[in-house]
């Protein structure tokens, strides 16, 4: 007699030193991070950085070259051992959606429920259709649905068997911008409602920020940093993270004390020790919102280009040294290109890297 499997939530999933590759080519190098119960994680990076390969390794579609993946203290992948994908209790949503075209919407969602008693499965399907806002669509076929609706079905199908972990491989990249904006918060809400741990892969940082509790930034097969969206934006640990996330410029500067640097925009002090020796040549990360327009400032720059953003102006400003930086100004401060404006720096935490 079959019964509904107990809804077990993930306690944690841990990657240690995971390397993945094909034919001697290492695509993912020594990846390590942990995902906790109910968390939504994200692998963020440019295309070809190995993030999808790592996701497929977690799903069990790739074997490891080194390291191990554990779920709740059980090894599920290692170079010599691999639990089959169908036995991992890991659901997956794909970039190309991959609904089964020969099955109706209800049959697609029920696909993973073949072990469930019929009545419970039907109940589950009805509940999920309601949850993803597609009640009444059960007997339609995938081709008659829009892209956004199809992606909702794909999500319902993936979470129907109550997996411990849901993986999502660029789930929104095939959809247009407006649809994406609607769908991302919806899906986050559904996952939180189901208390489902999830891991998202994307190259779009806005999507990552909107969706994830924890973001791992990847480049060329290496995870550069794992942290909250706030951390990776404001406290990037590597030069790549600093330049990949958000807008920003590197301002040449010279260290002048434990919490201070000299730059084109004067002496800047942070609230923490930066750990560089005096007189080290460094590049200081400045975000558009770190440099503000200030008529009283002794430091000036010439406007090279500008964008009106409604609530504010974003200027590109050329400093006396020739370095060009972003600058925020309130929308009352409408200046012409070529005009000279005063600039002031507002930085709490100095993010800097050795000069390149």
């Amino acid at each position: 007699m079959t019964s509904i499997p107990l809804h077990k939530t993930l306690k944690d999933m841990t990657l240690t030193n995971v390397s993945v590759g094909y034919d001697g080519d290492v695509v993912v190098k020594r990846a390590a991070f942990q995902l906790l119960e109910g968390q939504i994680g994200c692998l963020l990076g440019p295309s070809g950085c190995g993030k999808s390969t790592l996701l497929r390794a977690i799903a069990g579609f790739e074997t490891l070259m080194a390291g191990e993946i554990r779920m709740d203290d059980q090894v599920i992948s290692s170079p010599s051992f691999s639990v089959n994908p169908e036995n991992r209790s890991i659901g997956m949503v794909f970039q190309d959606i991959a609904l089964f075209p020969h099955l109706s919407i209800a049959e697609n969602i029920a696909f993973g429920l073949s072990d469930w008693p019929k009545a419970s499965a039907e109940e589950r399907v009805a509940y999920l259709l309601e949850l993803v806002g597609l009640a009444g669509f059960q007997s339609r076929y995938p081709h008659s649905l829009s892209g956004g609706q199809q992606q909702r079905v794909a999500l319902a199908r993936a979470i129907a068997p109550k997996p411990k972990l849901l993986l999502m491989d660029e789930p929104f990249s095939g959809l247009d911008a407006k649809l994406r904006e609607e769908l991302v918060p919806d899906i986050r809400e559904i996952l939180k409602h189901e208390k489902m741990s999830a891991l998202l892969v994307t190259h779009d940082q806005m999507e990552a920020f909107a969706m994830a509790d924890q973001v791992s930034v990847m480049d060329a097969g290496v995870i550069h940093q794992t942290g909250t969206p706030y951390q990776i934006y404001h406290e990037p640990e590597t030069r790549f993270v600093a330049s990949f996330i958000g807008h920003g410029d590197f301002l040449p500067a010279t260290v002048c004390g434990a919490d201070c640097v000299h730059s084109d925009l004067g002496t800047i002090r942070g609230d923490l020790d930066h750990g560089f020796a005096d007189n080290t040549q460094v590049d200081l990360l400045v975000r558009p919102d770190d440099i503000l327009h200030d008529d009283d400032s002794e430091f000036v720059g010439v406007i090279v280009s500008k964008w009106f953003r409604g609530s504010h102006f974003l200027y590109r400003v050329k400093l006396s040294s020739g370095k060009v930086v972003y600058c925020f100004a309130s929308s009352h401060h409408n200046h012409a290109i070529g005009q000279e404006i005063g600039l002031t720096v507002h930085l709490d935490h100095l993010v800097m890297f050795p000069r390149q």
Partner: protein, 554 residues
């Protein structure tokens, strides 16, 4: 807590048996071509010298003239018909656009027999002329059907659909915007056609042309019947008449060079098609409306190849088959049954192997597998005569070794094991028709995205269940199509069947050929008609997929 201990899987080998099977299949299917090539190389210079002095010039010039004539013919019919039915609108356009494919169902040798029966000296047309005018033999000139020119016309009539199909797809693919841009830049409609539409469609037209020319080179039935000496007739005559494998192989080698040139041309232009396709979807296809005289001319132009290439010969065949032919019913049923089970077995074998190859390349996209699939598909360009010789030579060798061995050990005499049996025939069909079924199966498999497999697995299905619940239901249609195409192709195939069939084993095609060779054209009609009618099935499928595509934005 989940216990995974019982689910241990230690690095499963990546479907190695599929890879091994793929390489094995390719190696076996490459055998005929290898045999021919080896014989070309080991053949001595004397044979070559003899061929060169006697027949080679005639074979080459006849084959070239045939290709030239058919090439011009298929372009002159195929391209304008494609343009008229895709870019213009006139009464009957929708019907004509698929009816233009009908001649594809008629094998060249059958249309040749039919027109010979109608137009030769004793045929109804010349008899009618004589009755009307009181002229007698030699007192008037009439077109000699059984000539090089006649062969060109017959082949053109049934091969133009290749050019028509490819160029029509290309015209439909062209973004209307491209043409509109040219109009806004000051080109007239006619100039836009020659400066833009035609050059854009050229790779597709060339692909269709090279396919038609491959068929021309492969043709045996027509040229043999018309006594036009080409490579295919020469190869079989050398092989049978003189029993000279080396010389036949030398000739096959020269033919192979021609074929290779065409393959390269086809591959190159297919590559260019991808390059030329804009990738933009066309919102709608606004066709030029033709009126009055121009509409009339357009429909006459499109009706002409359909009438001459299909309606007339098929009506004649039907008339002969029903009222004139002498063929005992039991005899006919026996022939049809032979053809049927041969074709059915061949399509089962070919499609099963195509499935193995397709899955091998899907699950293991390594270089060796890719190369294997490429090699296995090479036979589509090989004329049946070459495949026949490449099959019979190694099988006969093998048989003699086996017979020697058995005689040595048991003292008993046994008959042929492989050559001269259905095995040889089925093997040759597999070589020849692997490519078409590979195409259809891979096309179907391509629609099952790899992510669907992964979705199935992550939803708790074993690989076997994924196969049963996702692949089989989704693949059924393509597999049936592949089997149907192979079935019909086998039914029509003539030269390989003629060479390789077991003694006293006849099929519809072979019997039609034999009766025609005995000048019993009328008696050949029932078998011919049967072949044409069965051949209609894939043509109808093809035209259905065309018309459903034009409904959408294609």
């Amino acid at each position: 807590m989940a216990d995974f201990a019982h689910l241990t899987v230690v690095r499963k080998p990546k479907s190695n048996w599929l890879k091994v099977s793929a390489i094995l299949i390719a190696a076996i299917l490459a055998l005929p071509i290898l045999v021919v090539l080896v014989n070309v190389l080991i053949g001595d210079g004397d044979v070559w010298h003899h061929l060169y002095q006697t027949v080679l010039a005639e074979y080459i010039s006849n084959s070239l003239l045939l290709m030239l004539g058919v090439g011009i013919g298929v372009l002159v019919i195929g391209v304008p018909c494609a343009w008229l039915t895709s870019m213009c609108d006139f009464r009957g356009r929708a019907f004509l656009s698929w009816a233009l494919l009908l001649p594809m169902a008629v094998p060249a040798y059958i249309i040749a027999y039919t027109y010979t029966g109608v137009l030769d000296f004793a045929g109804p047309v010349q008899t009618f002329i004589r009755d009307m005018t009181d002229w007698r033999y030699g007192e008037y000139w009439f077109f000699e059907v059984r000539s090089l020119g006649g062969a060109v016309v017959m082949l053109t009539l049934v091969l133009y659909p290749y050019v028509y199909l490819m160029s029509r797809a290309a015209f439909l693919e062209q973004s209307e915007n491209t043409l509109e841009v040219s109009r806004t830049l000051g080109y007239s409609g006619r100039a836009a056609f020659f400066k833009l539409a035609l050059p854009l469609a050229r790779p597709a037209i060339v692909t269709g042309l090279s396919l038609a020319l491959m068929e021309t080179l492969a043709d045996y039935g027509t040229v043999q019947y018309f006594s036009v000496n080409t490579f295919t007739t020469g190869i079989l005559r050398t092989f049978y008449g003189f029993g000279d494998v080396a010389a036949a192989s030398q000739l096959a080698g020269v033919l192979l060079m021609f074929v290779t040139a065409l393959i390269l041309l086809e591959r190159y232009s297919r590559h260019r098609i991808r390059y030329h396709a804009s990738g933009l979807k066309k919102a709608s296809n606004r066709r030029m409306k033709l009126k009055g005289g121009r509409a009339f001319l357009a429909s006459v132009f499109c009706w002409l190849p359909i009438c001459v290439g299909f309606l007339i010969p098929v009506s004649v065949l039907a008339f002969w088959a029903m009222f004139k032919a002498e063929m005992p019913g039991t005899n006919f049923i026996q022939l049809a049954w032979n053809s049927f089970y041969l074709a059915a077995m061949a399509s089962l074998i070919v499609v099963s192997l195509a499935l193995v190859l397709s899955y091998a390349i899907r699950l293991n996209n390594g270089r060796s597998v890719k190369a294997s699939v490429g090699i296995a598909g090479l036979g589509y360009a090989l004329p049946g005569t070459i495949i026949a010789i490449g099959t019979i030579v190694p099988l006969a060798w093998l048989d003699h070794r086996i017979i020697d061995l058995v005689t040595y050990y048991s003292g008993e005499k046994i008959g042929l094991v492989f050559s001269g049996t259905l095995f040889a025939l089925l093997f040759a069909y597999t070589v020849r028709f692997m490519a078409v079924s590979l195409g259809a199966v891979q096309n179907g498999l391509g629609k099952i995205k790899p992510s669907m497999d992964m979705a199935g697995r992550s939803l708790g299905m074993s690989p076997f269940k994924v196969l049963a619940r996702i692949h089989i239901p989704l693949l059924k249609g393509s597999v049936l199509t592949a089997m149907l195409i192979v079935f019909v192709d086998v039914l029509k195939e003539l030269p390989a069947t003629l060479v390789l069939r077991p003694f006293n084993f006849n099929t519809l095609a072979v019997r039609a050929f034999e009766l025609a060779s005995d000048e019993r054209l009328v008696d050949a009609a029932p078998a011919s008609l049967m072949i044409v009618l069965v051949g209609l099935v894939p043509v109808i499928l093809l035209s259905r997929s065309i018309s459903s595509n034009t409904g959408r934005s294609r």
